[in-house]
Structure formats: C-alpha cells, structure tokens
Symmetry: C2
C-alpha cells in the first residue's frame, strides 16, 4: 500500500468552523463563581473553533474579568446592583450556609436557605431588568443576529433574552436545588428510590430510612422551596413578553441541557436525549510549576506532597480552626501546600507552606501528589478524578456535601466535618487516604472512567452547541412530554378514567345481582303466598 | 508554524486494537433474520479492528451463512430442531402476523401472538439446551476465555452462556414486545403518557384516547403477555446454574444495551447511561449498480426510479394483490424495480422490472431515486433515512406498523394497509411522496439528524463493546435501581409508611380533640349539677 501523507496543520484545523463555513455568533448570559469558570472553558473552545462569542457582563460582576478572557467580546451594561452588594451577598451565602445550615437533613434548609435564595432571586431580577429594559443594549443584540444563547439555568434571564431575540437556547448547569428546574422545565426524571436529591447529602444505595429521607427532601423541594420567587418572575416574564407565561415555561424551551457531571462523580440516573453529562470539561494537562514551588515539591522526596484548598469562596477561618489544621499537617512526613489567606497559624509545621493562590490543577497532575484536602467543589473534585488523587473532603456549602458523599460511597475519599473535626480526625483521614491502597485504587478507577469515554466532555458540549447553531435548534431530541400537563404526564387522567370504568362496571354488576336477587325473592314470596 | 506530517497509514490504524494491545475475544450468540444482519455488521467491525470473533451457530440456522461472513469463526453445534422446523416456524409467523392479527389494537394480539411467542420460546429453549448441555462445546468455550458475550435480548440463552463462562454480556436489540425486557431487566423507564408501547401502532403526540389505548397496551404486555414462557425459563436457568434464579435476573446482568434505533426514526424517550441508541449502524455508502441495472435506471430520465420491496421475509402474495400493485405501478412515469418472487402479474407495465433480489442500499443511494415502497422493516427504513428517500409504507408484521407510524408522524411517509389497499390508494400515495415536496424535506431532515451525531452509531456500539472488554464490564453505568424490588423502585414502601404516619397523626389528633371535648362536656355537666 502506498504511503499517503496528511499535513498535521490540516488535522488541527479539522475542528475549525471555517472549514465547514459554519462559523456562528454566540451570546452568553453567564453566572458568577465556578459557573463562569466552566462556561468560560466552553466559550474559549468556541472562540478557538472560529465562532464569535459575546458575553453579556453586568457592570457589577465579580468573576467576569474582561482582561483575562482573550478572544471573548464583552458587552458591559450598567446595573443598579453594585459590585459591593454582590460581594456582600456571596460572602454572606458562604458564611450562612457553612455555619448555620445543618447538613443532616434537607429540612434544615428552611427557612435560612430559602431566605438566601429569595435574596439571590431578587438580585438576579434586578440585573435582568437592567438588561432587558436597556433599549440600546437590546437593539444592539437584536441587530447582532446571534445563532445561539448560552446560559446557566441557575442564572435566570438567559432564557428571556433568547426568547426576545428568537434565538435557540442551550443551558450549562451543575444542578438546581432539589433538581426542580431539571425536572419541571427539563422533563428529566429523578426517581426518589435511587436518585438522591441534590442537597440531601445522600449517595449510593439507600437504605429504607435514607429513601424516606430522600422522599421527604423531594416533597420539600417540590412543594415548599422556591429557587426563584415564582410569582415575581412569572409576572416579570409575562410583562416583558406581553403574554401570560411562566419562567418554567420559558426555561423549558432550552434545546440542550449540558450538565456538569458524569458517572465518575455521580451514580447513574435516567437521562433524556436532549441532556448530556459533560462533567470535568475544564480539566486540562498539568503545566510545569514555578521554580520555587517545584523545588519545594521535589524536597518531599519519596513521601510526596499534599495540597489543602477550600476553594476560591472561603477566604478566612478562625485562628483556632487554622491551628488545629496546621498542627495535624505538621505531623505528616509529606510536604504540604496550603492555600490560606489568614494570619499564619502558630502551630504551622516546617513541612507546610502557605500560599494565597496555588496552581491546583498543575499540582494535582504532579507525580509527587499524594492526597488532596478539599471542600469538594465540583471542579476541584473533577481535577482530583482527572489525575486520580485520593481526597480528604471537608464540605462546606452548596452541593459539596453531596459531592463528597459520592466520593466516599465510591471509596475514593474520607469525609470530615468542618465544624467538629479535631487534629486527630484530620491526621487519621490523611493517613487513610495516603497509606490505605484502596483509596488510590478506587480513585484511579474513577480516573479511568473519566478518561475512557466515547468523546471528551468538552468536545460533546461544543458539538451540541454547534449542532443547535447549524440547525437552529435540536427539537428532534425533545421528548413529547413537554407538551403534557403534569397530570397527563403522570397518566392521572387515564388512570382516573380506567378506575371510573372499573367502578361503573362493578356498580352495574352489583345492581344487576341485586335486581336478580330481589326478583327471585319476590317470586319465592309469591309462590309461598300462593 | 512548522508543518508536521503524520502518515495516513497510521491514521487508518488508529482504531485497530493492536495499537493499544487491547485485542480481545468475542463470543456471539446470534438471532436469526434481520437481527443477525445487524449483529454481523458489529462483529465484522470488531474483526476489522483486530478482535477474534466466534459465533455460536446452531446446525439448524437459516440466516447464519458461514461462507459469506469472512473473518468470523463459527462454532457449529448440533440441535434437535431442524432447519425445516425453523423455516416453517418463521414462515408461519409472517403469514399469521400479517393476515390474522388485527393491527388496530394491541389486545388483538392475544391469543394469536401469544401462541406464536410460546412456540418461539420453546424452540429457543431447545436450541439453548442443545448448547449448554453439550459438555464438549461448553468446555471448549470455557477454555477459550472470552472477554465479552454479545447477544440479542430477543434470543434467550446468550445471558446464560455469559453467566456460565463468567464473562460480561452486551445486548444488541431492536425491541421486545411491550418493551417488557428493557423495562424489567434493563430498568429503562417507558412512561405511557408519551412513550408509545411498541406493537401498539401509536406514535408521536398522543390524544387522550391514544394515551388510554397505550396504557391498556402497557397493562396487557406487563400482566397478560409473556415474550418467553417465564415458568419454563426460570426453572431451566435455575437447574443449569444450580441455584434459584429467574431469566429476568440473569438478563438484567447485561453491561450495555445497544438499541437499534435513534431519534431520527423514533421520538425521544428517557434513557439510561448503560443504554445506547445505535440505529442505522448497518448503513454504508452505495456501491455502483450492475451494468444492466444502471442502464435501466438511467433510462428513467428526469422522472427517476421507484423501488418496491417487502423485505426478505415475504416471498409471495396473491395474484390479485400482485395485479393491483402492478397496475398502479404501471401508471407512474418513473421506472420501477420490484423485488418479487411470484408469478409475473398480467398487468405489469413496461416501466416495471421484477427482480428476485435487489441491491436495496445501492439503489436508495442512487441519485435517480424518488420513492421507496417498503414494508417498513427497521433496516430498510434506516437505509431510506440514510439517503433521504420518502417512503410509501405497507407494514405487515412485527414493529413495522410502529416504524411506519413514526415515519408518518414525522411527515416522511404515507401508510397503506396491505389487506385493503386499492390501485388508486397506491397511486395516490406514490404521487404524494414524489410530487409533494414536504415529504422529501422531512425525510431529508431525518437524514440530517441521522448523519449529524457526535459519533457514528457503529463506532459507538464498538466503543462500548471494547470498553466492556477492556474493563471486564461497565458497572459504573448501571443505575442502582437494579438492586431494588419493584415496590422499592416505585417507592411504594416509603409512600405507605408516610401515609401510615399521616393517618396515625390524624387519628391521634382526632382522639385528642374528642378527649378534650368530652372532658369539657363533663365539666359543664358537673357545673350545671352543682
């Protein structure tokens, strides 16, 4: 066979939209925090492939740093909410959720969490109003003729803008409380018998009591909790669109739901053709460390290193807590890199260095890496899974308890309680994940699952966004359940009709029997009388 | 940027298992008819990629032609069932199902279809016994140390052999009656409100009456119909495995379910992570026609051609029916290629040629192709979708009515009733699909959906089989629902407990009220008496 050659440059360009002439225009309505980090990766890949990406950025944004996002176009609009308001709100969320919400049952969320979400809902609505009532901005967006709107289902407004621009919508999301939006707008079934509710801290195979707990959580989130203040949003969307509608209805128009999770982190559950699980799409190969850090890491020798980070949202802890942690870390032979912004703890050992920021991904990918002490944010856990690093989980808020519960159920982590953990708890947990080989084996299996997929998560996410752009939607993936009311969806009308028929037949049968019986009784009496 | 070159030969080998050192041994327990055609494509691809594939072939097989299947190794074993028995059975199935089973309601299937399936179940069990009780054969299979068993869920025994060999199992299937095996062994939800039962002839958005019909079908298949004689198979599997078990339990051990369908042909429905929809994996590029056929096709000029085929299972029809069809075909300006084995009809027009066999895929891929008259077998419809050819559907048996109902609901086909159709019915249907552009547009959209997938169906099917081989299973994709009983799955125990609690509380509350009331009444009386 004659050898044929293909230029590598052409191979590199194979994914570029110029090749197919399908370059499109993407509008993003982002959310703050980690959500933006994930969306940025997708948007960056779209830019790489030649698409034009515009990000709607409220002037008050904290995380949307225009300088660091090369290739993205930012459309900044003024908002009545200030950056300080937002920062105060997010700090408050972290503090309240970490310290005041019991993690033992989802019922504990009420009313503290409900208050936080009501406040969040109001902030979102203010920003949304500032966007859609900004005539200049909306005219500019109309004229831009976008091919797709990308939004986070936990950042309402994206779907309204998509509706106003008559542009198809794609959601990227990790979860909404109690999976209510995925269920009621996305049509995604979550059977409470084997799918633990998010924020329930349940995981894996559930016992009877756990299934009972899960059912109560489901009922609570379905009937007592409101992620967004329904009345206010329904009224607002109806006013803006000039017809009676609900936020749930407008959200249900999303063409694709890209969920930031996969079966490495979560346990398998039912899905739909217009839902794709693209967890860990932000993971990338590790880059070399700085010279100083590399030297410190190499100085650990055979023992290797441990990193400690509670994520970007937690900036301080009490001196007492810091000392407990520092004294535990001082006991291990590993070198420790600790992301910490407070006052240097007195009990800090010589093996531990404090950093205001650490290149977490690059450290996790380092061959000396032994264990990762983390709050259990989805992105952090995905980096641990990507490189197969066992975890000591100290969950604080959000879905972190659920994430760590999943990792524990899969035998890849030990969980600690931030409020009650002692020096020896942390020490024991670290020794377990470093020296008990089962943790390493289990997390390596998760890593295998993560890497051995038919297509990489980022490629799948981009494929579906490009699909929606190419075909102006993906209606063929949309189950017909969307057109049913809730009682039709559960076949309650059909069941009621069938029960009515059975009851009518039974009634008729009894009536007939009675009639025949009475007839015979009369006949007998007549006979006797004769 | 410096140009780098990669040899095309290397690119071609990228999918080969030699490269990764992951070549494995595959054992297939095939089914007859179309099922074998689909499995053969997958097995052929596995051979192409360097795996060793062994097919267990009963001596009585009709379709498993050892000479035509290059690269596959056949392990033939003697059976008490003869080839003539099998042929007689399949001919009988086609005749009875086509002529004696009403297609208006699934209830009409009873008892005729039940009898057919009971007979089929007995034949399968005879063949299965001949395989698993053949000590020499089983010892040889044990020694071969296979990495995966591939089977069709409609051909029981594959799962038993996999269990005996302690080898992971992958199913390939189109459907089982009423989706009962997919539901009860695969755990795949089929909500009756928007997923039409297979063999119900329902499709698309259902009205109240249709949902009622669908619910009745579901109840019928769930409680009154048995695809395989449960008692006999449970006892047989228990005897062979030396422990009490059921066929449903052994079937539920399948690691992956590869379903021969996709959202081009079907409407979207819930799925699970261990289920992949790989419909149309057999479609391949059209090859050139023979010289004689190409000349005939070219002689059609601008009008183009129509092909007529009722598949490989229907070999004859009445003279009267053949004449009705021939006279209708004679009326159209197109040239017609008719796959027909009976006596040449008197009314055959000069534009129509009869063939005992036609290269259906190559003709459908020909640029002159205008319309396809078909029985609506899944493979035939997938070829029509692949090339975007509008369809006149004359469904006869099996899932053909459902397939054609789907194509009609998607605006890509006109349906005719084989029993009652007249010359003008066929003529009108043909004129509609040829001259009304909507049919072509709709089927071209289905073709787009079919081609625009993240990965080709065959590649996905092979990926998952190789995954199961590489990792000795795919347990991480298996929902935990598999470990629940039916009442736990539906949370009936939890609901009962909650209702009990509510009732107890209500009872206590009433008791308290009564007690207080009586207490006050007594007090009042006392006061009055004083």
């Amino acid at each position: 066979m004659a050898m044929k050659w293909i230029p590598a440059v052409l191979l590199l360009q194979m994914s570029c939209c110029f090749r197919s002439g399908n370059c499109g225009k993407v509008l993003a309505w982002p959310m703050e925090c980690r959500h933006w980090m994930n969306l940025k990766i997708i948007l960056g890949e779209l830019v790489e492939r030649g698409h034009e990406v515009t990000v709607l950025r409220p002037s008050a944004s904290i995380f949307l740093d225009t300088s660091k996002s090369s290739g993205l176009k930012f459309e900044v609009f003024p908002t009545s909410v200030s950056k300080e308001d937002l920062e105060l709100f997010f700090t408050n969320v972290v503090n309240v959720w970490t310290h005041k919400v019991s993690r033992d049952t989802c019922l504990a969320y009420s009313p503290i969490l409900q208050n936080l979400f009501t406040e969040y809902s109001d902030i979102c609505q203010s920003i949304c109003k500032d966007a859609v009532l900004n005539k200049k901005l909306m005219t500019k967006l109309q004229e831009s003729k976008f091919d797709v709107v990308l939004s986070d289902a936990l950042a309402p407004c994206g779907e309204l803008i998509a509706e106003l621009l008559s542009t198809p919508l794609v959601y990227s999301l990790r979860f909404t409380p109690g999976y209510t939006i995925e269920k009621y707008s996305g049509g995604l079934p979550h059977p409470p018998s084997y799918v633990p509710m998010i924020l329930s801290t349940l995981s894996g195979q559930m016992t009877f009591m756990e299934r009972l707990h899960n059912m109560i959580c489901m009922l609570y989130f379905d009937f007592c909790f409101q992620t967004f203040n329904k009345k206010k949003w329904d009224q607002f969307y109806s006013e803006i669109l000039g017809r009676r509608t609900t936020i749930a209805e407008i959200m249900s128009k999303a063409e694709m739901w890209l969920i930031q999770s996969y079966w490495d982190l979560e346990f398998p559950r039912p899905t739909l053709p217009n839902v794709d699980f693209v967890g860990g799409l932000h993971c990338r190969p590790a880059k070399p460390l700085t010279k100083e850090m590399e030297e410190f890491v190499q100085s650990s020798g055979e023992d290797g290193i441990v990193i400690f980070s509670l994520g970007s949202m937690v900036r301080n802890m009490t001196e007492e807590k810091a000392n407990i942690i520092a004294s535990a870390l001082a006991q291990i032979p590993q070198k420790v890199l600790w992301r910490f912004e407070g006052k240097k703890p007195d009990s800090l050992g010589p093996n531990t260095r404090l950093y205001k920021w650490i290149p977490q991904n690059d450290l996790l990918g380092h061959p000396k890496m032994k264990a990762f002490i983390t709050h259990g944010g989805t992105n952090s856990l995905y980096e641990a899974i990507h490189y197969g690093i066992p975890v000591v989980g100290i969950p604080l808020f959000g879905e972190q308890h659920d994430n760590i519960a999943n990792m524990v159920a899969k035998g890849a982590a030990v969980e600690l309680n931030f409020q009650t953990m002692t020096r020896s708890d942390l020490l024991n947990a670290l020794e377990a994940v470093i020296y008990d080989p089962s943790y390493k084996e289990n997390v390596m299996w998760l890593s295998t699952i993560h890497h051995d997929q038919p297509m990489k998560p980022l490629d799948r996410a981009v494929f579906w966004i490009e699909f929606v752009m190419r075909h102006k939607g993906a209606k063929h993936l949309r189950p017909l359940a969307y057109n049913l009311t809730w009682y039709q969806y559960h076949s309650l009308d059909v069941i009621a009709f069938l029960l009515f028929c059975v009851a009518s037949l039974a009634f008729l049968a009894i009536k007939c029997c009675l009639f025949i019986y009475q007839h015979f009784v009369k006949m007998e009496k007549k006979k006797k009388n004769e």
